[in-house]
Subunit: 629 residues, 2 copies
Amino acid sequence: MQIHLDGFHPGDPHVAPADAGALPHGATPPGEVDVLIVGCGPAGLTLAAQLARFPDIRTAIVEQKDGPLVLGQADGIACRTMEMFEAFGFAERVMKEACWINEVTFWKPDEAKPGAIVRHGRVRDVEEGLSEFPHVVLNQARVHDFYLETMRHAPTRLEPYYARRFTGLAYGADGFVAARFEGASGAETIRTRYLVGCDGARSAVRQAIGRRLVGDSANQAWGVMDVLAVTDFPDIRFKSAVQSAAGNLLVIPREGGYLVRLYVEMDKLGEDERVAGRGITVEKLIETARRILSPYTLEVKEVAWWSVYEIGQRICDKYDDVPAGEARQPRVFIAGDACHTHSPKAGQGMNFSMQDTFNLGWKLVATLRGQARAELLATYSAERQAVAQELIDFDREWARMFSDPAAAAGQGGVDPKAFQTYFERHLRFTAGMGTHYQRSLIRNDDAHQHLAAGFTVGTRFHSAPVVRLADAKPVELGHAGKADGRWRLYAFAGAGDPARRDAGIHALCRFLDEATDSPLRRFTPPGADPDAVLDLRAVFQQHHRDLAIEAMPALLLPRKGRHGLIDYEKIFCAEPVGGADIFARRGIDRAEGALVVARPDQYIADVLPLGAHGRLAAFFAGFMLAPAG
Amino acid sequence: MQIHLDGFHPGDPHVAPADAGALPHGATPPGEVDVLIVGCGPAGLTLAAQLARFPDIRTAIVEQKDGPLVLGQADGIACRTMEMFEAFGFAERVMKEACWINEVTFWKPDEAKPGAIVRHGRVRDVEEGLSEFPHVVLNQARVHDFYLETMRHAPTRLEPYYARRFTGLAYGADGFVAARFEGASGAETIRTRYLVGCDGARSAVRQAIGRRLVGDSANQAWGVMDVLAVTDFPDIRFKSAVQSAAGNLLVIPREGGYLVRLYVEMDKLGEDERVAGRGITVEKLIETARRILSPYTLEVKEVAWWSVYEIGQRICDKYDDVPAGEARQPRVFIAGDACHTHSPKAGQGMNFSMQDTFNLGWKLVATLRGQARAELLATYSAERQAVAQELIDFDREWARMFSDPAAAAGQGGVDPKAFQTYFERHLRFTAGMGTHYQRSLIRNDDAHQHLAAGFTVGTRFHSAPVVRLADAKPVELGHAGKADGRWRLYAFAGAGDPARRDAGIHALCRFLDEATDSPLRRFTPPGADPDAVLDLRAVFQQHHRDLAIEAMPALLLPRKGRHGLIDYEKIFCAEPVGGADIFARRGIDRAEGALVVARPDQYIADVLPLGAHGRLAAFFAGFMLAPAG
């Protein structure tokens, strides 16, 4: 972490100095804001934490409940989500507290012993090299805690307004939306430039803009319980998918070494029947789990939480308030469960919800600051709805396979082997790596993909280890990508660099520094640090002991802050750290090098030659706006 | 981390439930305690944090200053100290905030260009595999913060009493010591079973027990300053030892990417002369640094902190109040700078001080609880004084070499090459790995050292990666060693294990479980968890997929807590993680296996055959006491 740029400050470096100009937190919500978030779930908090670092943007977040969540329902945290937590600055805390899912084991009916189950397979949960982070399980309430702390420590000192129910909205002629709430002290109205409904599956904001969730139900009831139990089932600390003659069950070990979550298949439901009518008790859940796990014993000592639900996948056709075909820009958005719901066992609901607003956050910032054209905002629904639809399709198939009667091959059900194969094929998807955005004004074509085959345009920037030139520290290159609204230009030098002054890195720096069509020159506000909008990082193929930092272009040693201090964290070396170097790992062209453009949400917008200055300029000119004046 | 053993509790798992029986924190200190700590420096806080987790021990810590440290002087944190921080639970936070020292570079006068300096060498700061932690630099005040938070989150909710100056002590006939303090509201007296003076180089506790620091001074003044500066010196983010014709200088990069500490050689002092008399200003420090770094420029933008000091190494002959030759048990101890002072540049003062009280803490706990004979307490001074004397000897030599006039070979000074060689040889020492305790009642002989050559008896347990059997999680074995006062028995299985029921791990477990002379049976209090005093961990040579957890001895799956839940974190597999397995890394006999006994402070007390049950029993019987009743 970089601190003390504008002078030495003692104390906890995670607590940013409060900004005097930020909207203060009062007893009641402010009358007017730029962004109003409805709902303190994972989607709402991701957006609030993202906006909290910008004191020039007036943000409020309102929640219907009386206070923070204590006991969460969701628990699985995908690798991709961990990468995002790293950008928010608390990944290492989640790593420490959470339960790591390292392997998945598979159980089926024992053909030799009717009524018993037997292990028939085990696979790594996350394939080698998929991410620098593990797949973990942690109480959703703790994820909320980390976001709330991030907000509290940000320059805006952002805090939610609790105990206020959204009751409706009205569009004003002045471009504002008036949102109405009902609280303990009566009705309140907040005027906002943008309203974001993160208010869950029964979203009132969604209803207010006339959108609805459509989808289907598998007519299958499931139970879920977090228990402290004693068992001789040997895989109780593994994620285990158990198919038995008595039904199906999924074991998810939980944080702390003792707690475990069991998803238990319960009754088939009739057409349009809701599970609530069945009167399923926790005793029945436990009894069913015991039958499924037989001949192993299960002695439940304490139930920390339990619930029953029916499987279903539903989605909205659009995530904003602009009817299809209309050209105006959106003012109201929905995110998370408000626009897509999933079966819990695919472990996707919470993860997808957070990625929704990580996608939306930087777009709101850029638009509100006048740094980008308002067309940018339409890409939120376009991008997120498409990938959610893909997820729903996967999810439906997955739930169907999981709920099918357990059966050995040939008995009409899903073959256990086929089940495992499908599971393995989709582990990448459940790791959160299924997202692949399509061509848009913020995602270029794949014309130069061959220069860096491992950085697929439209997917997230896949980090790899490098060594920092200035201090020889081994670091993850992708961790340069913080949730700060900035674009990253990762320049991978060709073999001839840095000796070549007329091409490669030097030429790119000269272009960015000097050319009139340089996006860095055009779009960086006057007086701001040179990396305030576009953050350039360079990776060389030489060993750090073979490169002279004093010969580097000035743009890679930028002078920043009120003292004009040198930022030494822009230049890296691709020497191998625990295996192949980043050029090998990501298939980067060693002769030509490559420039990888990563968006503020870490997705790759373009891969292009280092010398394609015109293409780079045109890309940013397509949606960015030069500072006024 | 393991949580929820005694039932599910939401919230931050780092905050232990407050213990109703613990000594409450009041407006004034309590009248009587078991342990009274004087001084809130690194030594005092390490001890307080250690004791804070034991609500049955009444602890108070008193500090002369008005509140917590804001700006610290010490900054280097050795690998060994990081290992201890891991035991206290905050290593990952230090890793994140701190500046990592990865390499050291060496500069000397340029023979070709008089008055200029040139780089002549660079070495890794920490040799490969020396520790799983890096050598880092972080403001001492932040280290204090982490300890204070650890205390606040412990069951005792321990807080310091500030603004009280220790003025003297009196021994009572009842075994208590009465310590007197002077505070804002007058004189206070605290009766205590044990008094620990962690009150710095001018320790009043030391004076009260009639001990003194003896040693010498190099009659050399040095300046130190933390600055935000702009320079073209290329190694400003490396630890750099600069010898120039204009004097010597040490560069220590600091946390946050911009701050840097410079140690600058200043005036030679006369015999017995103190540096204060020289009137050295910060301007003079800067000017000298600029001359030394020439031809590179140094433009200081802000000085965060600076000081001048004279080099000296001093030490007490004994760290407690028992005169040499007397047999009574100590009641007063001194630790940290109170009994040894060092030149800052060896980076040892703070690190050594914390290891002092990490050594003392568990001994006080065991004695106060009646779990160990009082003779245990005499080992504190014996062990720590001996290793400090070794450090002082090293330190004196190091300071002498550093202050010697810079010189190319043959000009009478220290040869730069010899300097670097000496530096490299002692990097292990500065990493905190120089400590090697000698034979005592808590450190057995080396008779079976050959069974595990890499676990040297008397040195710290050197962690290595393993895989946990129950959930296939890759973990550091040594991180089982928490600062909880427990002994660890690391049992490394021979190749035949676990099939052999009559020998190896099974036989060891049976002995520990059943034998009348089993230290586990003898010394574990009735009703306590089986691992409350001796924490057994087993490491097998098989891959985790080839071992059946259901076939393991019950002692390796102990039932714990009020629910009798199974602890699944006792069994590990030695499959290779990023290289060789732990048997190869630590030279463990693959045929016979080995049992490594680690003390609560992580130092190795014995290496013995798995079947040497009698030796194991005799070792613990030598100092442990069975519970009364």
